[in-house]
């Protein structure tokens, strides 16, 4: 089977508006990709934490 005559878009996920490219065999680890992953993780964590704080307040455990 011949390969596609056009570039196949790499699969990606968008987290907190940050585009995260899935890795494939043969990829070189790009520090910038990992920084993006960190940024996305921090963003999501911040949101979850904010929700948890709201939950804690609701439960009467407000800080």
């Amino acid at each position: 089977m011949s390969s596609a005559p056009y570039a196949v878009p790499r699969p990606k996920a968008v987290v907190c508006d940050i585009e995260l490219l899935y890795a494939s065999y043969g990829d070189v680890v790009d520090p910038e990709d990992h920084r993006k992953l960190c940024s996305a993780a921090k963003c999501v964590l911040g949101r979850v934490l904010e929700w948890c704080e709201g939950a804690a307040e609701f439960l009467g455990w407000g800080r």
């Binding site: 921090k42 979850v48 948890c52 939950a55 609701f58």
Partner: protein
């Protein structure tokens, strides 16, 4: 009624201990508790592959105002492992809504496993400062961010740090979701399913050590878990901690200032409406939504806690005009309908909210012979307005003009429908497929319904989103 339907079919099987805790809110005692426990046992036997012996009953949990039944695992399953909690809200259960009330939460992930990251789970001991690990994680991410700059290297620990943070995030969400659910806050079964999915995604990680070969799966697992956590956040936010069940105490209900959303859509914009329909939603619509099929109505009321409110007016209800309700609420509609009547409310629940009679104005009823056989009237006349419950949702008729005679009446109807057919104090979403607005003929004697929604929403602190 089946509890298993509330749990994901692919609930993973665990070789380590599973402890089921069934909490039955102590609304009253006796009836039904055994059934709940039995079902929980079956659930864990079939769903999680764990054999559970006779429950040890009861261990009091007075703080939660609940009776707690702890089900011990068999000795061969001993070991530190995941703790799963199933609980049923008694109030829901007794109203025949047990499947909606059963939640489960997974509090603990394995503390030790071959090749797995070792992350301390959230436990009671962590309280009252459960935020600190997440905050520390966020700081660790800052450090990774600095270290993994352009021209530098990415180390194994940089990946592990992201994973640890994701686990803490899921853990914190699990912890609070569980606590909220215990309090009767409606978070939605889909939220807990997503939570389980996130745990599975996070557990696919294999801890990296210095010198390990980095595989694509390492990065991809983290992306999957992170995406899942974001989706979970979306679900948690959607329920906003504010879906209060009838089992909530007055204080809890008072704290839970509702943030019900009212969506005003064009009359036939079902495509948008179906994206908005979720558990605890009420959809106000006319009999005719051309793009809505009865099979879709059936599926929605079977799978979601949604009430369709059909506004019945003087028009003929031929099958071609009312495809959405064919065989779901009406068999085949045929004119003439019964004519306008003043409704005498006979259904006790509706009477509680509406009073003994409701304004019908010039709205027409549909004869009982055209309704599905098991539809129930909530007014007492032979052609009265009716409703029918399905597995999770319901369909109800209301007098087209009368129900929005004023914002006060509109509010009463929303309260009646929420309380009687959804079983919650307030709906999560109201979706109004609009038709009565400014400039309508004068025989629609009330002020515009969209204005009514704005007035009602303002008085209750609800949010109105006009998408017309």
């Amino acid at each position: 009624m089946s509890f298993t339907s509330t749990l994901p079919a692919n609930l993973p099987k665990y070789s380590y201990a599973v402890v089921a805790v069934v909490i039955v809110t102590a609304v009253d005692s006796g009836k039904g508790v055994d059934v709940v426990v039995d079902r929980a046992l079956q659930l864990f036997e079939s769903g999680a592959g764990v054999e559970v012996p006779t429950p040890v009953l009861p261990a009091a949990d007075s703080a939660a105002g609940a009776e707690v039944y702890r089900l011990a695992p068999r000795a061969r399953d001993s070991g530190v492992g995941r703790e799963a909690v199933v609980f049923a809200s008694r109030g829901f259960y007794d109203r025949g809504l047990g499947s909606d009330a059963v939640r489960y939460r997974l509090l603990r992930r394995p503390e030790r496993g071959v090749g797995r990251d070792v992350v301390a789970p959230y436990t009671a001991e962590v309280l009252p400062e459960p935020f600190k690990p997440v905050q520390q994680c966020a700081e660790a991410l800052d450090r990774v961010f600095r270290e993994a700059g352009a021209g530098s290297y990415v180390f194994a620990e940089h990946f592990n740090a992201v994973h640890k943070c994701i686990v803490y995030g899921i853990s914190a969400a699990s912890f609070y979701a569980g606590r909220l659910a215990e309090k009767g806050v409606f978070l939605g079964v889909d939220t807990f399913e997503k939570l389980a999915e996130c745990w599975r995604a996070a557990e696919a990680w294999r801890r990296l050590s210095a010198g390990d070969i980095l595989m694509p799966e390492h990065r991809n697992t983290l992306i999957d878990a992170l995406k899942c956590l974001e989706d979970l956040y979306g679900k948690l936010l959607a329920y906003r901690l504010l879906r209060v069940s009838d089992t909530a105490t007055g204080g809890e209900a008072a704290k839970a200032v509702t943030a019900t959303e009212v969506y005003l859509l064009k009359m036939d914009d079902w495509d948008t409406a179906k994206q908005l329909v979720d558990d605890n939603s009420i959809v106000f619509c006319r009999h005719g939504i051309p793009t809505l099929a009865s099979s879709e109505v059936m599926q929605l009321v079977t799978e979601k806690r949604v009430v369709f409110v059909i506004e019945v007016d003087t028009e003929p209800y031929y099958p071609r005009d009312a495809p959405a309700w064919y065989n779901v609420f009406y068999t085949v509609l045929a004119p003439p309908s019964c004519g306008n009547e003043i409704g005498n409310v006979t259904d006790p629940c509706f009477a509680k909210w509406l009073g003994t009679s409701v304004p019908a104005l010039w709205d027409y009823n549909i004869s009982l012979e055209y309704k599905v056989s098991d539809a129930r009237n909530w007014t007492g006349d032979s052609c009265g307005w009716g409703y029918k419950r399905y597995a999770r949702g319901a369909i109800v008729e209301v007098p087209c003009d009368g129900f929005w005679k004023s914002a006060d009446w509109l509010g009463r109807y929303v309260d009646a429908i929420s309380s009687c057919l959804l079983g919650t104090a307030t709906p999560y979403r109201i979706i109004y497929l609009g038709h009565y607005t400014s400039g309508m003929p004068e025989w629609h004697e009330c002020h515009p319904l969209d204005a009514c929604w704005y007035t009602l929403a303002k008085s209750r602190g609800w949010k109105v989103v006009d998408l017309r």
